[in-house]
């Protein structure tokens, strides 16, 4: 089966920098398959957002190619089809909402695609329901919280019925509650609707929810593996100036003290279960 997203030998730099400047994307070969949940981590300026903007033709490669379900993003004729396949949600929720009414905002993409009013209404209701915001249909987005606004932005993308949603640091301006709400929705879209998720983030606890983590640095993918493995590459994380999740640091310290903790621990719950098991085992063998 061919991949949903496929980049081949992808290089990019902005035109006016073309002389001796370094590449912002420096040879990226990547395949992402239908239904995956991929987190992309890396320091600022590593090229994460630039990569994201290549996935639906907002930027075009300087060299190499990007294929979305076999469609080349450089093919202008395919642009609408590509953007319906790969949707994007950005950092600042305020700068993505275009209407003074939630319902009309979510309708924006289907309207642009020239759909029938009955079909638009169906999609709007479905998309708002999928992000738990159906009750706010007739509200003004201006009065909503950051997390709610961002869920409306997701609904606005969902209304195109995309195969994949790219979240470009879409949680970074939210408070913990808003973040948790958005993450809950994103996980649900992935599990229940099989929508492929690409999550660009600085938060390790969000990346821990993914099934695959890409570490990027200086325009390259330096690691591509399951979070259980990536999070224990302490030296690499530190070199990329990323945070080591507290749970991982805790597990490593306890292991140094001779506590035998089983392998994949990246979530708080896993850590609690492992500690309970160790204690009960010791208690039992005494």
């Amino acid at each position: 089966m061919s991949a949903l997203i496929e980049t081949q030998n992808l290089y990019f730099q902005y035109l006016h920098h073309q002389t001796k400047q370094k590449w912002i994307l420096n040879g990226i070969d990547l395949s992402i398959h239908q239904g995956e949940f991929v987190a992309i981590l890396g320091p600022n300026g590593c090229g994460k957002s630039t990569l994201a903007k290549h996935l639906n033709g907002l930027l075009l490669p300087s060299d190499g190619s990007v294929q979305i379900q076999g469609m080349d993003t450089a093919d202008h004729q395919k642009l609408d089809a590509i953007r319906q396949t790969v949707g994007m949600v950005f950092q600042n929720p305020d700068n993505q909402l275009i209407s003074t009414l939630v319902e009309e905002d979510v309708a924006f993409a289907p309207e642009n695609l020239g759909m029938k009013p009955s079909e638009i209404q169906r999609r709007v209701d479905w998309a708002l329901d999928a992000v738990d915001m159906l009750d706010y249909k007739r509200h003004s987005p201006f009065k909503l919280s950051g997390g709610q606004k961002q869920r409306i932005a997701i609904a606005g993308i969902l209304a195109m019925r995309p195969q994949c949603i790219v979240m470009d640091e879409a949680t970074s301006m939210l408070d913990p509650k808003g973040r948790a709400d958005v993450m809950r929705i994103v996980k649900r879209l992935n599990h229940e609707l099989g929508i492929t998720i690409l999550l660009i983030t600085h938060h390790m606890d969000e990346a821990a929810e993914a099934s695959r983590v890409l570490l990027m640095n200086q325009g390259k993918v330096v690691m591509d593996d399951r979070p259980e493995h990536v999070f224990y590459q302490i030296d690499l994380l530190k070199q990329l100036k990323l945070d080591v999740p507290q749970v991982v640091a805790l597990v490593l310290r306890l292991r140094q003290q001779g506590i035998r903790l089983p392998d994949p621990i990246i979530h708080v719950e896993q850590c609690i279960d492992a500690l309970t098991a160790v204690r009960e085992e010791d208690y039992g063998t005494y």
Partner: protein, 269 residues
């Protein structure tokens, strides 16, 4: 500062006025404005007030809100009315030095006062009962014939509705920047005029930078949602003229005719 912008903003509802097609409301507002200017006699003035009362009831907007919309221009109205009171000739009722008040002047001034208040109050009803998007698409449809002349009607209406959408966001931003500069010792209300103008640079420049940044991000966001101009766009709620729109038009035309009739009936003034 943000609070001032709530005057004249859409109040969601299901009143008769809310349910009219925005095109109907735009045209009727235009008709109403002409009607107000044609109101000449005492009888038609009373009729006009009666109409305003009916419209407010039909819109189910609290009268308090309607008059809040009028409040900012009351000084202008009063000055205009006063000028009329003193400068219109007629039977002199009272005079002192070069000032004199005539019966005709008093009447003209009073009429003007009532007409201007009615005008603003009436116009505020359309903004209270019509969402900005509906207003923009109503305008787009009314101006649709201009598309033949390659006039970018739908793009303009899109620009208009996005501008309106961002006004409160930018107003909030303005408040924040003012506070931040005040925290660095900015003063806006003292000094010479030149200094006062200069004091606003640290506020206006960041506001512009922010507006540009937002515009840039917004461009990406609407491109991601397949926007490419008005060509081939459909609407979630296409505008449809219904029976109540025709009824409203007939009512307005009848009222308009009544004003003309009341004007022509011989009255003391």
């Amino acid at each position: 500062m943000t609070r001032d912008l709530t005057v004249g903003q859409f109040i969601p509802g299901h009143s008769l006025m809310h349910r009219l097609d925005p095109r109907t409301k735009l045209m009727l507002t235009f008709l109403f404005i002409i009607q107000v200017f044609l109101t000449k006699s005492a009888l038609s003035l009373i009729f006009l007030l009666l109409l305003l009362w009916i419209y407010i009831v039909c819109a189910q907007v609290p009268a308090r809100k309607v008059f809040r919309a009028v409040r900012p221009i009351i000084p202008v109205i009063i000055v205009t009315a006063l000028l009329n009171i003193f400068y219109v000739s007629g039977h002199v009722l009272w005079h002192y030095a070069f000032l004199r008040i005539t019966d005709q002047g008093l009447f003209t001034g009073f009429t003007l006062l009532v007409r201007l208040i009615t005008l603003i109050a009436g116009c505020s009803l359309i903004t209270y009962t019509t969402s900005l998007n509906a207003l923009a698409s109503g305008l787009e449809q009314l101006l649709a014939p201009l598309k033949r002349l390659h006039f970018p009607v739908s793009e303009l209406s899109m620009t208009l509705s996005i501008t309106l959408r961002f006004l409160p966001t930018l107003a909030e931003e303005l408040d924040r920047i003012i506070e931040a500069q005040k925290a660095r010792g900015a003063q806006f209300a003292t000094g010479t005029i030149l200094n006062r103008i200069r004091a606003f640079f640290p506020v206006i420049l960041p506001l512009f930078m922010s507006a540009f940044r937002r515009a840039f991000e917004l461009t990406n966001a609407i491109e991601c949602r397949c926007y490419h101009g008005g060509e081939g766009r459909t609407k979630l709620h296409p505008l449809k003229l219904g029976r109540r729109d025709y009824a409203a038009v007939i009512f307005f035309l009848a009222a308009f005719a009544m004003t003309l009739i009341f004007n022509s009936i011989r009255q003391p003034f």
